[in-house]
Symmetry: C2
């Protein structure tokens, strides 16, 4: 029966003392400590608390099979990038840096051949581009047979699974590195796009004068037997929002240049470097 | 473009730097600081993060017109009681201590007369009791005309608004203190009751070996012109769970005794003490 704020916090922490699972006990006690520290630091008012309850409720009720508003909230508060840093530090300075997975990955994309295009929709506009490079280990040795799973938005800023028409598979593909570790595919230059901003998270961003845009990027998951899988992006050096990506996914080492070729096509060359393990 | 956890936290905090409303800016920056500190302290895993996203989503989707699962979560994490302590410290040691409002208050209860019963349902079981006392200032002077709004569960542990039958108004009432500040009403002895435990919060409580019970109490909001309103409970001294009320609402000074009278009835005497302001 607490009579002060610190006594109350201690009492709540103690109420989790009988938790059988030691990890769950640690998590809940740390959660209460930090949640109470937050409320005490800002001297939260009754109205602010009630607003928070309503905000969280609206966020939950915005979620559906095709929308995860809590993950958007986690993304825009930098929590998703932090979870990524905590769990996927690259382990070797020479290796490709990881970044967030995002909500638009699809398992089991089509397996394509070396040099194929990932564009399946004839209406697709955008600047044609070739992406190529090698999958290598930290010493530069090729990793033959590595699998490269890539996905990006169309020129309209939408992933296939966000579109009302059935364009499933558009701008996705799975590639296998050849005997020299080489891969190559055709695509269009990625464009910046806004995260879904018609819900509570979009409203939050506007109320704090933040924009809802992500810098242009191509997603990739690269894996090979005997190596650590890496989930990453390739960012376009010319893109807007590299300095203010709204989900904090940009890393210096992941920014690359699309170079105009004599034939007018764009070429981006990028080697994925995997760590053994 | 952060390369370390602390750099990332700093970058996210800075992203709220253009917030026009200084209070909102303070809240969001403090939120990010404490949220990141929590994730870093427990070294949250990918799976735990995903579980948290799903837990919050399920909590939001449990909410409806008659159920507020996020407030239950706030209650069971001691946040609601903390918000109460931060905002409603009584200001004078002689005054009645406040405690949480809870989700079962109804505006505009019926105005009853001195001595009336708040029980409206003939089927109600439970031990008949009289509650009476005075509303006074911190020097013991009567506050004539003070309004006392009371509500409690029936003997089945349910508030009227939780019942499937229409029993609205049962075990609720509004009383006006007389010229001597006196009030009196008839009721039944309150019983301990479980918070709604068929959702994510109930599951959480079970997973950490906590029970879902509140100690027996009568709610009251007391107000009078020229005095600070107090929202409080009167707890039954004989109740179970006084030491482990699952929403952390019990305060020593609010525990009172139902005394058996020569006629067999129970009598609880309690004076509400208000602070000027």
């Amino acid at each position: 029966m607490a009579t002060s704020e610190s006594e109350l916090t201690a009492e709540v922490i103690a109420s989790f003392g009988n938790t059988t699972d030691p990890r769950l006990k640690e998590i809940m006690q740390s959660l209460v400590k930090h949640l109470h520290a937050f409320a005490r630091e800002i001297r939260i008012t009754d109205e602010e608390w009630l607003f928070a309850m309503d905000f969280l409720t609206r966020t939950g009720q915005m979620c559906s099979d095709v929308r995860q508003e809590f993950i958007l909230l986690s993304d825009t508060l930098g929590l998703s990038s932090l979870v990524d840093l905590i769990n996927h530090s690259k382990g070797d300075d020479r290796a490709t840096e990881p970044t967030i997975l995002g909500p638009f990955h699809v398992a089991n994309s089509r397996l394509l051949n070396y040099g194929d295009s990932i564009v399946t929709r004839s209406l697709t506009e955008g600047e044609p581009a070739i992406v190529r490079g090698r999958v290598v280990d930290v010493d530069g040795n090729p990793i033959s047979g590595a699998m490269i799973d890539v996905w990006q938005t169309d020129a309209n800023g939408l992933y296939d699974i966000q579109e009302s028409n059935d364009v499933s598979g558009n701008l996705r593909g799975l590639f296998k590195a050849d005997a020299d570790g080489k891969y190559e595919f055709r695509t269009i230059r990625p464009v910046p796009y806004p995260i879904p901003a018609d819900g509570p998270v979009g409203k939050m961003l506007r109320s704090v004068s933040r924009h809802e845009w992500r810098a242009a990027h191509i997603h990739a998951i690269v894996e090979a037997q005997g190596y650590r899988q890496v989930t990453t992006h390739i960012f376009d050096k010319e893109s807007k929002y590299l300095d203010s990506d709204t989900v904090f996914g940009v890393k210096e080492s992941l920014i690359k240049e699309f170079v105009k070729q004599p034939d007018g096509n764009l070429l981006l060359e990028y080697d994925f470097v995997l760590v053994k393990g």
